[in-house]
Point group: none
Amino acid sequence: MSTVFTEFDLMAELNQPGDKIVLLVMDGLGGLPLEADGLTELETAATPNLDHMASTGTTGLSVPIRPGIEPGSGPAHLSLFSYDPVRYEIGRGVLEALGIGFRLTANDIAARGNFASADADGLITDRRAGRIGSDECVRLCAKLQAATGDLLADEGVQIFVEPVKEHRFVLVLRGEGLDGELTETDPLSTGKHPLPVTDTSGSVEGERSARLINRWVEAARRAIADEPKANSLNLRGLAKDPGLRRFPDIYGMRAAAIAVYPMYKGVASLVGMDVIDFDGDRPTHEIDALEQAWNDYDFFFIHVKKTDSYGEDGNFAAKVHEIEAVDAIMPRILALQPGAVIVTGDHSTPAKMRSHSFHPVPTLLWSPRAMPDTNTTFGERACANGGLGIFHATNLVPQAMGHAGRLKRIGA
Amino acid sequence: MSTVFTEFDLMAELNQPGDKIVLLVMDGLGGLPLEADGLTELETAATPNLDHMASTGTTGLSVPIRPGIEPGSGPAHLSLFSYDPVRYEIGRGVLEALGIGFRLTANDIAARGNFASADADGLITDRRAGRIGSDECVRLCAKLQAATGDLLADEGVQIFVEPVKEHRFVLVLRGEGLDGELTETDPLSTGKHPLPVTDTSGSVEGERSARLINRWVEAARRAIADEPKANSLNLRGLAKDPGLRRFPDIYGMRAAAIAVYPMYKGVASLVGMDVIDFDGDRPTHEIDALEQAWNDYDFFFIHVKKTDSYGEDGNFAAKVHEIEAVDAIMPRILALQPGAVIVTGDHSTPAKMRSHSFHPVPTLLWSPRAMPDTNTTFGERACANGGLGIFHATNLVPQAMGHAGRLKRIGA
């Protein structure tokens, strides 16, 4: 099943009260065997609880974006939340701001910033400023904030310069009437001058925004002109929060996000989920938070990060171990008597590839109303023969809605 | 892959004469095991003929509407006839009229009517009139027909008031120039006044239609004001026949419907199929009718109702038995040498749930030209691994067209 789900109006019309839904995302869950005849991380892990849920529930493979496309975390999560990431584009600046936990308002333009090196004529000599360290990035951002924070106060615009890591930072302009379709300054190769920001929307707001950003860029470059490496900078992906239709409005569910890393809290809040604060950073702490918030919400998004991190590190064994840690908490979720539990990943991160990958993602949908398929284990190859088939990730929330009794019949 | 089929122009361009096609629908065919380790109704039934067709044909799971959505009978059948029910919406009034076998014309507006109870001030006290019986409904409709049938004769509009069951009836206004987008009168909760019908299309026809319907509502309420329970009424789902493109024109097939219940005859005639009259109400009688009409048509829709009725009753064993009765007639269909036979349901009605459900529907496509899959039985879990995969119901007719040699090659 791979049609992209797009009918938000239909969901808004059909939703009704029902049982609670848990969407548990093990980041980068999908894997690959290290050897041709070997098992994947998930197939290797001892997962008695997930296997039992696979026996009584239904399984399949989720396509996050489109077949063959390797997902970033932002688009992959949007897709799990049922927003087609190809249709609902989130600018890189917005994703970068979300990634550091910066809460954007409707008056903000966000940009991804890159410190760079330039020669005496301003020609870019290194687009990453000699790969400066993250500490250096923090110092440079503080310097820029001090020098340029009030630069556009005469135009009613506030400036925020926030470090990300290494040469990367986030710039946010906040003020009334900022908008437009804004080009990037990065010439994309060395030996060239940075480009000015221009507006391609042709709107008054766009023209003004481009002018203000160029004013900031000029002042910012002047403020760091004495730096040995990072004496220039570029802006990319200038964008506003796209104002997505709110998940709680589409589905008629109070929705909560339980996540440790800012990026995932950010994407969840972008679609209108409440972000739950809690202590600790292990899956058990996340389930503590789930139990505590259980009565206050209808839909829970739980994000487990380390499966992806270990995949990126190429640490097959540690990824296996983290999957087993998640398996161990499943009985506590089931004890809450949800109407539907989805266990999936946002994308695959095979330890073998040390990277996100394009492979579809093993997915389990457990529900008292599920039609069991023939699978008795939870793994990539089992899921390829599961009752959900191969489906687009945007279909998961509607599927869970049906299984949780949250959709009215269509027609008589 | 489950893309919704929408290319009617393509079908109209590519269709050519070929072999005959039979679409046999067991209403509510899909089921669930009663116990976690049990079998579904279809998996339990002894179906040697269907199993043999599964061995030599191909199988899959059909998604009637969208994943997770529980279909009503009207939309589910439209989908089997290849009309996406999300795109081609049929008003409730039209479905209700179809459900009682009332043949609508292009000049008709149909509404679903509900008898209600009101207090002395006209405030609704019971939206179902104390759940009056069906006999009472027949009497009340006759009373309304007598009192209001000629009410709008001065405007060239005829009135039909037809009983459905319990508190439900159908109102049809027939006349030139009736149209618009008309709101409902039902305040949706008690203690409130009914609402007037208004037109939201802004058209002259809409304004006039709303005015005439309000005139009728007022007269009708006056006519039943002395009733002990049903002394008021509401109208919902006011709509016209949407004028769907005709199935025979799209596919180049003379199409016949063989069904016992009015609703299914109605949906078939809505898309331009001929409804065949015959004696009896069992599957064997339907095959008698099929044999008799065989030379006059290219496409046959056969509808078996009782599988759904037993599912709704929670009668697992009787549903199994009815499936076996259908299995028994399959040799007579094959003896006619069709080019393709589809055996499916419009939706699932698991006896366990006593209701329509969102689960995808086991489907069998038999044809001398089929590529056999690995399945040797016809059941939900077998179909999940079938050669048709998990597909949208709108794709079935085009699939059958190909298998029956009824589609020209595209391109050179």
